[in-house]
Amino acid sequence: MNYQQAKKVAKRAGENVIPTVCGMCGPGGPGGGCGVYAFVKNGRFVKVAGMDESPVNRGALCAKGHAAPQWVYSPDRLTHPLRRIGRKGEGTFEKVTWEDAIAQIAERLQLQKREYGPRSLAMLSPAKRSYSDYIVRFLTVHGSPNYGHSGICAVQRAFAFMYTLGDWPKPDYGGSDLILYWGRQPIYSGPVARPAKALLAAKQRGARIVAIKPSVEPDVGMADIWVPVRPGTDTALALALLHVVIKEDLLDHAFIDRWCSGFQRLKTHVKPFAPVWAEKITGVPAGQIKDVARMYATTEQAAIDLGNGVEHTPSSNDAIRSVAILMAITGHLDRPGTNLFVPSPEKNPRKITLKERITQEMVDNLVGPEFPKPFQPFIEGTSSAYYRILESVLTEQPYPVRTIIAPGTQALVSTRGSKNVAAALKKLDFFVVADVARTADLPYADIVLPLATSYEVNHPFQRVPGWLMATNKVIEPVHSPKSIFDFFLDLGVAMGYEGDFWGGDLEAAMDDQLEPMGLTMEELRRNPTGVSDSRKPTVYEKYETVFNRSSPRLSGEPFLPNGRVAIYNSTFEKEGFNPLPQWREPPESTTGTPALLAGYPLILSDYHTSRNFSASWQRNVPRLREIQLHPMLHIHPQTAGERGIRDGDWVKVVSPHGWIKVKAEIYPGIRPDTVMLLHGWWQGCKELGIEDYPLLDGGANVNVMYSVEAQKAYDPLITAMASQTLVEVTKVQKQAGNP
């Protein structure tokens, strides 16, 4: 509805309405930042409607957005700042004041900075959030490079694309006759945002849709062709596509000659990667691989939407750059209906990450570089891989991190190797959790800071391409009045960094960032439904500019050494990495470790997104939990039948690294050799009487199942931790102690 309608509806119901930005899937993040009308009755937040005026959601709203009031009033909300008094992991705390908690953190950080240097501090990053830049800023001011990025999402694609093409090209959904959704979930990653609506629109205008992923989700049901690839084998598939288009000469020779570097070497290199070779690895019939290659290469207006699914395997970087090369050599770059180089908006809020202060010394001090040091800093600044930060506590290599701050992230369920994570949190000197609700890691915290949700504060502004909107306070804070933004400013001031933290004045921080937009927070707030940008006309074939873009490395060297697509990547070669894309097996797989198949005959992987939860959050929200009460393992009817497993049975899933107990969902739309479930399960739902699950073996946390062995489980260039392994699934016999 629009603002006038919202006001009318509110008036008739005796309610107030406040226009604001949805806070459920992390504003500032991908798919986030929808405009909403929040309705308040007698001081209580009761319901939400989508905002017509927001160019992001245009009046629509997803299940999560509608469940916001239950999230805000959840009994799982953190209510008081806490200090640990028991043993680590035990979860015994005493209440302290916010000021005391901040002072204690500052005291510890100052002490450790003197004793061990600033690098002893690391902060774990959640998915991209509107406060992500504050994390980077705090670390940079402190002098630590250890921004703990996941190593499994988005910047992995950005890295491979940028070092191959100079930019991450986005599908021209509106103009394509053929779209390949590859390892991508266009619906759950923002169901009311542009990609989901673009899929519907493409379908309605008759574009062909190809879905490449191991199981059938709603988007696959809407596709014309399903390519049921085995988890973690996208690189082999991509190499075979290159083989076909080169062998059959389905190429744009003019583009290759003018704009590509190293094509002849690629031609020789891909000879062995025939579709029959890829069929053995990927499980995709050779005929289908040929069909898809031909269809893509010969459709002039064809685009690829490469998703997060390709970022979870040790050959991820080569999968992504194979796809980048495929776009280039078939002439599908920056032309109508293909993948476009989308320039950033003309005006943007001021970036506050202080990247000009990053030094070589900081790069040298990375505890576990997410990208090798020669490629740091990357677009978000310097980064250590989330898991490697935790691992350093255990191995003390190259040095142990002493303090970890987890602002809105849960290490025990958000990264792999949960058993090592638990051991690290136990051993860690000092651990701070700042969140709106109970997290899995809470029992290990030394200090816990309860945060206000975005429905309880008057900041920040939200910037999504095309729209700028003020967050408006919907209700008085239910518990803590302090937000995650207050946390960084208060801690900055307590550390003596007030000059870099706007003297602790949040309004000043907002105004400073908004200055290039030509307005203050107060002025922005006077636009109840935000400010929309006008769209620039699209300019195509910007090769000269894009292929010469400089990289964020301190040297500023361009991404591409000679202004051409780096098919043969001499930049990687110089640092000791493969100049051409290679196939590399996951740590455990059908073709890589066939000896394991006797005991573990099925492939396990997990889903990154769902319709009803944001990552590992919101299992505590009844209306969302009722959509899926328990973790469900998708298993093919035949695979289940062979094991005497029926729909809804509790099953035990065992890998070489751990085991989980979840429910079976007989799922016709999955490869018979593969089972999959959603990640992030641990939290119960008090209102529904569902208890927490154990975090390690015997629970439902899929991260205990995977290898974290350094030589096997990571992509050497972009970290990309494996989320594939081999498992056996058995029915849990009903007995005392079992559900």
Partner: protein
């Protein structure tokens, strides 16, 4: 000729996001377990030629409602003026005969035990702005419209066909 009102469902525009189901539960403050609108996933075929589709299922306010005929207490009525099928909770004894009779398994029974279901939000404050399930749908798969009895009968048949023989576990119409 009576105009038959209905929330029309276009399967081509549904992405199975569950926005409608949760919007309805939130706006109508429905009890735990009660759903006036239910999103279903339906399977067809077998691997690798397997397909799925979505149905956002709510009361169709049938032209000849089986629930009305089945109710021993005459608690369910079809309104002549707009085709709306309504239940008088004061008369309902919670026998669930309507549930047995309904081909679409629409009737819901909350903690009170009496039948509840979608009423097209006709008595709701703000009805002029349309039902929340309709307003929240990103693909505009739902629309509140008035049709002829013949058109509604066709849609009833189409929905039954969409439900198919093999709805998923969660989507099972018997759930």
């Amino acid at each position: 000729m009576t105009t038959e009102f209905i929330i029309w469902f276009d399967p081509e525009k549904c992405t199975q996001c569950y926005g409608c189901e949760v919007a309805c539960r939130s706006w109508r403050a429905l009890d735990r377990g009660v759903r006036f609108r239910k999103v279903l996933n339906v399977w067809r075929g077998d691997f690798p030629r397997v397909k799925n589709h979505s149905v956002a299922m709510g009361c169709l306010h049938c032209v000849e409602p089986a629930c009305v005929a089945a109710c021993p207490e005459e608690a369910i009525h079809k309104r002549e003026t707009d085709g709306l099928v309504r239940v008088d909770e004061g008369l309902c004894i919670g026998c669930q005969a309507c549930w047995d009779a309904c081909l679409y398994k629409i009737p819901q029974f909350g903690p009170k035990g009496t039948m509840q279901k979608c009423d097209l939000c006709f008595d709701q404050v703000g009805r002029e702005e349309g039902p929340p399930c309709v307003a929240t749908c990103p693909g505009k798969a739902l629309s509140l419209i008035g049709v002829s009895a013949g058109e509604k009968l066709e849609h009833q048949k189409a929905i039954l066909a969409l439900l198919g023989e093999r709805p998923s576990r969660r989507g099972s119409v018997a759930q």
